[in-house]
Amino acid sequence: MPAALDLRPGHLPSGPGTAFLELTSKRRRREIRRALLMIGPALLLVAAVYLYPAFYTLTLSFAEFDLVRLKLGNFVGFGNYLELAGDPAFLGATLRTVYFGFLIAFSATVAGFLIALLLDQKFYGRTIVRVVVVLPWAVPPVVAGVLWGQMFHADVGFVNALLSRAGIIDQYQIWLGDGWTALHVIAIAETWKAIPFMVLFLLAGLQSLPHHVFEAAKVDGASAGQRFRHMLLPLMMPIVIPLALIQFVWAMKAFDTIFVLTRGGPAGGTTTLNYFVYREAFQTFDLGRAAAAAYVLLLVTLFVVLLATLLRRYLVRHQ
């Protein structure tokens, strides 16, 4: 076959001097049409569950919901948002959500990094440790809730039993009885579940580092601490920041553990925005307020995503 004109998809000639190939633009159009046909059904389904609801929720956040006729009621402008802004429960939930997100992102990243550093060492039983570390990944979030609920159970929980036996606490504690403590129990459950993902990616990152550079620095007399601070950390930052960000975004979705462990209580002390939206929408059925709160949650998430992206860009540039 002559190699001059190759018209298979993906091989079309381009660049100067090919404009005479009117034929190709026809083929090109056909290729685009085929692509649209193949992507179309998936796109429709995705639009049906993401795009349409997102717009509907946005509209709803500026309206009242007519519960009798099950459709949008009067438009109230920013009424729902203003109402939320004056609601201490909502403001508390917003601050709590941001704290909860950063707490999980931080603890999962630090714990994941330390475990990845450990697994990067050679020692007997490393494979077993690696398999065990990945285990919580296989645990559905709802089961993680049950499991940590039982661990921190006031009467039969292992945490009380172990801590009192070790002499750290005098008497059994009611861990879920106080909102602030309970929030941290939930964060422990979420962090425990997040660690496998972090370890897997951070370990892959560590193993992709240029090892000969570290050897060279060692030969030149750089101490382990110096190598960690001035070489390992800066090199890992471009990997660490997106991973921590993913954990933050996932923490915004945390629901199952909260539902199972505390249902947002005691006294709303573990109600994050996600849970707040659920409660407003499906328990008090104030759908307009719920939609507005959902959009605040989205804005908070996007704001943190933006911050992290800027931070990563700054760090990469100033290395």
Binding site: A35, Y52, V132, V142, D256, Y278
Partner: protein, 283 residues
Amino acid sequence: MIALKPRVRRAIVRNGLVYSSAAVVLFVMAFPLYGLLLTSLQPEAVIRSRDLQFVPDKLHLEHFLEVLKPGHIVPIREGLWNSLVVSTMTAVVCLIFAMPAAYAFSRLRLPGRLVLLGAMISVYFLPTVLFLIPMFVVFVNWSLDDSFFSLVLAYSGFILPFEIWILKAFIDKLPRDVEDSARVDGCTDLQVMMRVVLPLVRPGIIAGFIFAFILSWIEFLTPLIFTSNLKITTVALGMFRSTIDIKVGQQAAAAVLTLLPVAILMLVFQSLITRVLLTGADK
């Protein structure tokens, strides 16, 4: 005392550090799971007593038998069956929709396809509660709440972006030559996809099926909102449908039963799953 050479001393310190931290990691990551299993296998009296017993002298299956009885207040039996049906249906629907889309994203030059794919994957990470209110309204309006259909539709849509991403990663790695020569031989795109790509991309299809299955199996918020009928409760939800406080041992047994299918799938396909996720690492 024997004076140790610095090199030996450093090795001892290093090993001590490594092995003690490995022990801590093992304990923290594995003990909660072990504790759950232990609780599910011990009689309620032992669980309630404050004497710790980390190694049971006898395994009791009574909690499992109890929760699996028909008509138990924890509808695990129905839940397991319903989740199996819904998750399988979702996985199949996802594959049917994602396969052509993934192929087009990988092979055909559509302007803006990377932006489109990126946008689809970004929304996957957002809280689902943002999308559930309107879907609830629509389903109630059409009397589709409390149906498998509503669950499969919602799950499939939610999982689809991720599914397309997985399949695309596998198709990207296939050599184009085979497809090209099939095309020269006169195959249409559809034929190329069905006869050439599909058999080659089998690991991707398995991976896609497993991910969609697991993600549907563990979904909690969607069925919590869309279902109220106990007949169509899913397994993740089953434990929380009853308002009566159930026994600790039975709760643990129900949790183990919810976890088991996912754990088995993850163990059997561990290397495949790790491979899929780490393809994202180099992007």
